[in-house]
Amino acid sequence: MWYGPNLQRSYKYMMFASKMPSLRIDKSDLKCKNGCDYFGNPQWQGYCSKCHREQMQRQRKAEKESSATLPKPEQKKTDRGLKITSHSSFSKFEEKRLRQSETLKKANLLKFSVFKKSSTDDHDHSAEKRLPEFKIPAMVNEGMKSDFRMKFSQLSPSMDRDARVFVHSFIMDVIKCANVLTVDELSERVQRQYQRFMRHMDTSSHFTNVDSDTKELLMDFVEKHAMTYLHELPSVVFSPTGTDDERLDRAMSERIQQLSWVGEKHLECKLDRSNAECRQLLYKAISELLGMDSALSPGGKLSRVRRACRHVLRLCSHAAPASADDLLPALIFTVLKANPPRLVSNINFVTRFCNAQRLMTGEGGYYFTNLCCAVSFIENLTAESLNMDKKEFDSYMAMPASIGGSSWAAALSLCGAAREAQEQREGAAQVLAQAQQLQARADSLAANALSFEEQIAKKVQDVLAKTPLEIKPRRELPRFGKFKEINTAALIDLGSNNDTEEPKATAKQPQPQATTTQLTEPVYTATDSVEITHKQPDTSVIVQPSDEPKLNILGFEVIERESPSKSPQNWDLKKTGSTELLTPSPLGFTPFDSRSIDELMTPDEFVTDHLPPGLSNINYDIDLSDFSGDNSIAEDAPKTENKDPFSPDGLRKTVPFDPFAPQTSKDYAVLESFDEFSFVHKNQETDPFEVVHRGNNPFSPVEMRADLENDPFTPQKKSTSILDDNDSPTSACLLPSPLLPQSSKKST
């Protein structure tokens, strides 16, 4: 990576960019900067009280120290880097830029040292103030928390806290010192920090019953998190400023490319190119080595190296266990073939900032040492080290890099292709398995559906078997026809005459009773009362002159008769139709909406030969009002005849009448012959649209069926209440009072 001369600036930019004001304040922003779980306070520079006190003490101490000892001017050793670059192809320009950047850096460092020296200076204050501004993102904290829970679930949270506090102070310390110290000093400081944490673990009471292995794991944990974060910061710990790491990386990469002709025979390692297993192992080792760059912590890099070396070991151990004599050449060969990116930077990073104890001991340390040896061997490779003639070596080196090692490159690319094929095969197998799974699930779903269907079918059958469908003869709707029966029964019974051709007088007699009772009713609701009071007198009055008893129920008939110009049939139709319009209640009637509106006879439909065209638009209401106009005349007569409006006489007389009596009853045969809807005798039907026989209306409520003789749902008791009085001939046609229970309809 190339950061150019202003990398110092870019780093600072990054530092403060992370502190950019945002609209959201995270909870973690309020926490102590040290990462302990207490809340911080701006007065204490974002620390909690405890950490602030510690911080202050440390600062005071540091100031004392720094004023005592001046920072040494930095001495960089660049000769090693230059040696390599001499035969690499760096342009002059780049060299110049590098030097420039170094001088810039030195100037920067100088400035910092000035700050450090004169701690009482005003500038110092600003610098001191700005540095603590930097805060480690909460991500680190959270990551550590979850990681700790995962790895050390058995350890107490106080250790977690300790580790986090340490990591925070560690990171802050490194960032602060990165500008001031040389890399070696920084590395030393980091190592001292590691030791400090180790000592802390040894002495602290939290860690008394933690064994040494766990302590080492904790150490690794701390190192990993601190270094992972620092690794991301440019030029702080990874290829830091003031080192030649980047340049060496390039030099090394070019060097390896130049040496691509070096084969297994030059290194005297026994590798069999034609062996597929051997190729695979080499390929794995190479990919691990390449992966070293992507690992962020020294421990991660180290473990990559370890894995790579294990592959190499397996590679060169054919019969006997491989020894170092075999390992090193094979590793060199692997490195040459891999040409890992930023190799020198990575190695230096691990060397400087890995916990020294880990690096010096253990398997990882051993393999890392081997890698270092390999790199150093490659760096210093000469004709002698390959046991070959100087001339030959030179001619090889002069050869374009692309020619050499093509056989191995081919073998490895074959390996890569094989690997890819393998991966794809695995992928295909996975997809296949998924498809099979899907298929199985689909099958089971289908089976489920089938069984469900069967189940449902069985249930339905069961239910059907339990409750067989009996198609009983349909019961008549107590529509107009019924009410006619009822009413006529009430009316006609007085005369105890079954004949429809009743004398007028008998028909007349009970009617006033009913009407008067209704008239005297005070309980009518507001809406009903208007119409009803209007109409009842109507009917009652009109009934009197009517000739036919069947028409007594509705006085309209009579009026129509009287009016000479109109055909009685048509008027009947009209009336009934509109009456239904007025009473959409299902009570006793076919529900309004159960019948198509077209079925209803609109006045327009009666524009027949009988009617003058102009009259087709006559409103039904107008007709009613016309009748009401006669009220004044009719009112008196029935009232006088009324003996007792409340006497249930009339009702009692209806007792013999059973509305649910079979229709065969002669009394109602005649009535039945009328269509309930049209009030027109069926024999008289003339117009096709008048034939609206409701008798077979399938929508008629079941409970209204007349053949249900002793309907358990309809109390047979006589309704003595006035409210229940339905004997009025009109009441049946009119809006049923909401006060009347529905069942009362059936009771006479």
């Binding site: 005297e268 690096l359 150093s376």
Partner: protein, 227 residues
Amino acid sequence: MKVIEAKIVVLGSQGVGKTSLVVRYIGKMFSKHISPTIGASFFTCNINLDNARVKLQVWDTAGQERFRSMAPMYYRNANAALLVFDITSVSSFTAIKGWVKELQSNVPEAMVLSVVGNKSDLEQYRAVTVSEATQFAASIGAHYCETSALHDQQGIDQVFLNTASALLRLSSSNTMSSLRAYDSSDGDDKIPTGCPTEEDATHTGKVELPSWSIDNIAHGDVQKNCC
């Protein structure tokens, strides 16, 4: 119980049998299941002495002459060295002398040295006499023993056991207390936790009193905090 962690590096020319020596030693420990894929270049073993445990990390080195320059990386921070030579080859014995010089000049700390004459079964081809080797070993303060790949198992054990006990004595002496930071745990009283793993080579007791005194073991100036 005292636990000492030490790094021991195996030096010697190519072909003297460093690896076979190591493999034989590991092979004994891993007798149950030795896998040929396990490299013999690095391994750890625990040696239990009377009152202490020594954790040895054995680092094998590449003996080829061209890798000679890389050797300092290996023996850096080492506490002990096994100098292996072939009794049938004088050149390997002289190479040992070179190694010793190099160690003396490069390693600042006290180091336990052991000279091992390998291939003792090839007595008829012997080029380096026992007395010559013993004399040299005594001059550098090292212990000399001969081993054989064919039959002498005892010799190899003896080499490691001697090294372990010498390390123990070295750590208990004042000079070793100023060890490098990485093995600061040396000399710490730790009760070993966890059951011994398969790597544990348990040789109890049998502490031979070596013929050399403590003054002879260490060489070079002791520096504090070298790194």
